[in-house]
């Protein structure tokens, strides 16, 4: 990955001929302009990349790695089950699965204080909720549109929210959550509670104008926010290179003096270590960080997308060589963790997901009166 090895252009001022002495009566405007040299010294643009490059992977204990593995398997099995229920017609509407991207949410959110730091994302939201400890039952029941669902069956797959967990949704308009994230971060700063906001968006959303309005404000006000681009290679059906002029999304904060970090989003330990670096900077009151997590979705954009815009071989290659769960499993085995311990986790997760699905299928439909509730805090 390209780091700071790029040769720096010579400072034009140092090589340019000295201007003639200005007459005393003319105000010296150059003093009002900051020196580019001084500027570079205070600009932390590449420092976080360097810090991450120096120490790429998180030094997890066996127990921690087992926990990461468990959370990733939970997301994978949950999403597979959701895909099945969708196929059976038990889930309607849109359903965007997180399969393949598990290491991102797990690696990043394991570094947050659950229930204290806030998280916000787009419509591919199941994984982020599961990684933040939200009960799979109420998520699955929302997918099936039941009264016991986390949004009482009114939101569905794309719209879920939990104030207790400080998970702020679940948003369907591409990119809108990024601006909302700035508000969440502003509240952390205002309350001086030490919390940060993690705002996720995709490589597609990275082309929405409001993302850049938000970058500017967040940097200007030094908001405690981590912007996370989950670059899975495709903005719906359009490959990144066909829809983005700058495909290295971590560089897109440069114009706003936001340091960026490219991260391998298929390795949970690398993700976690990158989160440590980013969070130390943000919690230190230095303002936002922009992380680009390079990842891959194995399924289509949504359940109705046959994903014909990419080859089977491409998907198979990612599954075979870069699968985050398989990677964590191999790492556990290498460390001498027993295969039985891993199998126990797999079994436990299968049960948990089966219970969530049973709950989601057997709990009652919403009461018809729910159509009219929750429009306002008050009523009309």
């Amino acid at each position: 990955m390209a780091k700071s090895a790029r040769p720096r252009a010579a400072n034009p001022r140092s090589s340019a001929p000295k201007p003639a002495a200005v007459a005393a009566s003319v105000p010296d405007v150059s003093a009002a302009l900051s020196s580019p040299v001084e500027d570079d010294a205070t600009f932390a643009l590449r420092s976080l990349q360097q810090a991450h490059a120096n120490n790429k992977r998180y030094d997890a204990s066996d127990a921690e790695l087992l926990k990461f593995y468990e959370q990733m398997v939970l997301i994978r099995r949950f999403e597979e089950k959701a895909g099945q229920l969708y196929g059976l017609g038990l889930i309607g509407g849109f359903c965007h699965l997180y399969i393949g991207q598990e290491a991102v949410a797990v690696g990043l959110q394991s570094a947050l204080n659950e229930g204290h730091d806030s998280v916000i994302t787009g419509y591919r939201d199941h994984g982020h909720m599961l990684a933040y400890g939200i009960d799979p039952k109420v998520i699955m029941a929302e997918l099936t549109g039941r009264g016991a669902g986390i949004s009482r069956g009114k939101g569905g797959s794309m719209h879920m929210f939990s104030t207790e967990h400080k998970f702020y949704g679940g948003h369907g308009i591409v990119g809108a959550q990024v601006s909302l994230g700035a508000g969440l971060a502003f509240a952390h700063k205002y309350r001086e509670d030490g919390g940060v906001c993690m705002a996720y968006f995709g490589d597609g959303a990275a082309n929405q104008g409001q993302v850049y309005e938000t970058f500017n404000m967040a940097a200007l006000w030094k908001l405690p926010i981590v912007f996370v681009v989950e670059n899975n290679g495709y903005a719906m059906g359009t490959a990144v290179k066909r829809g983005s002029a700058e495909t290295h999304f971590y560089r897109r904060g440069t114009a706003f003096r936001i340091p960026g970090m490219p991260v391998n989003g298929m390795d949970v330990l690398e993700v976690r270590q990158a989160a440590e670096v980013a969070l130390e900077y943000v919690r230190g009151g230095n303002g936002p960080v922009l992380m680009e997590l390079n990842t891959y979705r194995y399924r289509g954009h949504s359940m109705s997308d046959p994903a014909k815009y990419r080859s089977r071989e491409e998907v198979q290659e990612m599954r075979d060589k870069h699968d985050p769960i398989e990677g964590a499993k191999q790492e556990l085995l290498k460390r001498g963790v027993s295969e039985d311990a891993i199998k126990d986790i797999d079994k436990k997760i299968r049960q948990q997901v089966a219970q969530a699905a049973d709950f989601a299928e057997s709990s009652p439909e919403p009461d018809m009166a729910e159509l009219y509730t929750d429009v306002l805090v008050e009523t009309y």
Binding site: G92, G93, F94, E142, G145, R146, S151, G153, K154, G155, G156, M158, H159, H171, G172, I173, V174, G175, A176, G204, A205, N207, Q208, G209, Q210, A235, M236, G237, T238, A239, R242, G243, S244, S304, D305, K308, Y309, R310, S311, E365, P366, M368, E370, L371, Y372, V375, Y380
Partner: protein, 337 residues
């Protein structure tokens, strides 16, 4: 006549107009949607299959996959149109007008007036609208109410493949900005479409789908099918309904509505948008003002409740107008004194 689906009527009209006029260009998210640049059979051709094959025929200069940037899509379409092109821009979901409302409302709709008639903005902005797919609050809305309220836009809501053909052709050849609203649930419906390569339906001319004489029902888009079904049920009991398809909400064919209400004295407006400050309220005010002496009952409306659109299937069904609800409204308007 050729039998074709609503979505194919959209596609074939765009294709014919692109072939006829080199100034017609198409842009939108995933309108090519394939791997690489060749388009080809693996390309999506838009999630609604309304641009399939355009890229192969007209190439990258005229069929443009955009980033997910609605403001810039509509803004670029407006700029293209101001300089003489005829862009057909697509917003994947009508709900996304929220992202680009400024370009629609403050820019496109106002150019001609505020520039003293010096500019033309022949842009067509197509978008898929409507509920019924459990797509929840941000992917199901009917937005004609908002756009119809903006002076400077024309708003079209075709209900049949033939109307798609005739109205979309008019839209593309029109010198004013046109919002072209396609109901998602109609894409797979079929109907006969005239083969005349210049078949056009003028804006502001409503279609009388049923003539009955007892009650006037006015609607648009998908809901006309429900209105006709309700009219058929009632006809079996000897109750005759005039069913009027507005086709365009702006301009509005007042005459057809008023002519019908002057005979029936009873009006039911059926709309998929929320009940307040919308098409249904507007039309009821129209007849109250201009056909007051003909009215035999207060005009009624069948709309969703004043709530966002719920996700769960049962809630969404309860939210939407239905044949039963329309039939009930007709009975109520007839029973009034």
């Amino acid at each position: 006549m050729t039998k074709m689906m609503y979505r194919d009527a959209v596609l074939s009209t765009i294709m014919e107009e692109m072939a006829r006029d080199p100034d017609v260009v198409v842009l939108g998210e995933d309108v090519v949607g394939g791997m690489g640049t060749a388009g080809g059979p693996e390309a999506i051709g838009g999630i609604w299959s309304t641009s399939t094959g355009l890229y192969d025929r007209f190439g990258p200069g005229r069929v443009i996959d955009t980033p997910i940037s609605e403001s810039a899509i509509v803004g670029a379409a407006a700029g293209l149109a101001l300089s003489g092109k005829r862009p057909v821009a697509e917003l994947m979901f009508a709900d996304f007008i929220g992202v680009c409302l400024d370009q629609l409302w403050n820019q496109i709709a106002k150019f001609r007036y505020m520039f003293g008639g010096k500019s033309r903005c022949p842009a067509v902005i197509r978008m898929a609208y409507g509920a019924g797919f459990n797509a929840a609050a941000q992917h199901s809305q009917s937005v004609h109410q908002i756009l119809t309220g903006m002076p400077g836009l024309k708003v079209v809501m075709p209900a049949t493949p033939a109307d798609v053909k005739g109205l979309l052709r008019t839209a593309i050849r029109d010198d004013d900005p046109v919002i072209f609203l396609e109901h998602k649930a109609l894409y797979a419906t079929s109907g006969d479409v005239p083969d005349d390569p210049d078949f056009m339906i003028p804006f502001g001319h409503a279609r009388l789908c049923r003539a009955g004489g007892d009650v006037t029902i006015v609607s648009t888009g998908l809901l006309l099918g429900m209105c006709e079904a309700a009219a058929d049920r009632l006809a079996a009991e000897g109750i005759g309904c005039d069913v009027i398809d507005l086709r365009t909400t702006s301009p509005l064919d007042e005459e057809t509505i008023l002519d019908s209400v002057e005979v029936t004295g009873r009006l039911v407006v059926v709309d998929e948008a929320p009940p307040r400050c919308g098409l249904a309220a507007d039309l009821r005010a129209l007849v109250a003002e201009k056909a007051f002496s003909s009215l035999k009952a207060p005009p009624l409306q069948v709309t969703p409740p004043h709530t966002p659109i719920p996700f769960a299937r049962e809630l969404e069904s309860a939210y939407l107008p239905s044949v039963d609800k329309i039939e009930d409204a007709v009975r109520r308007v007839l029973a009034w004194r």
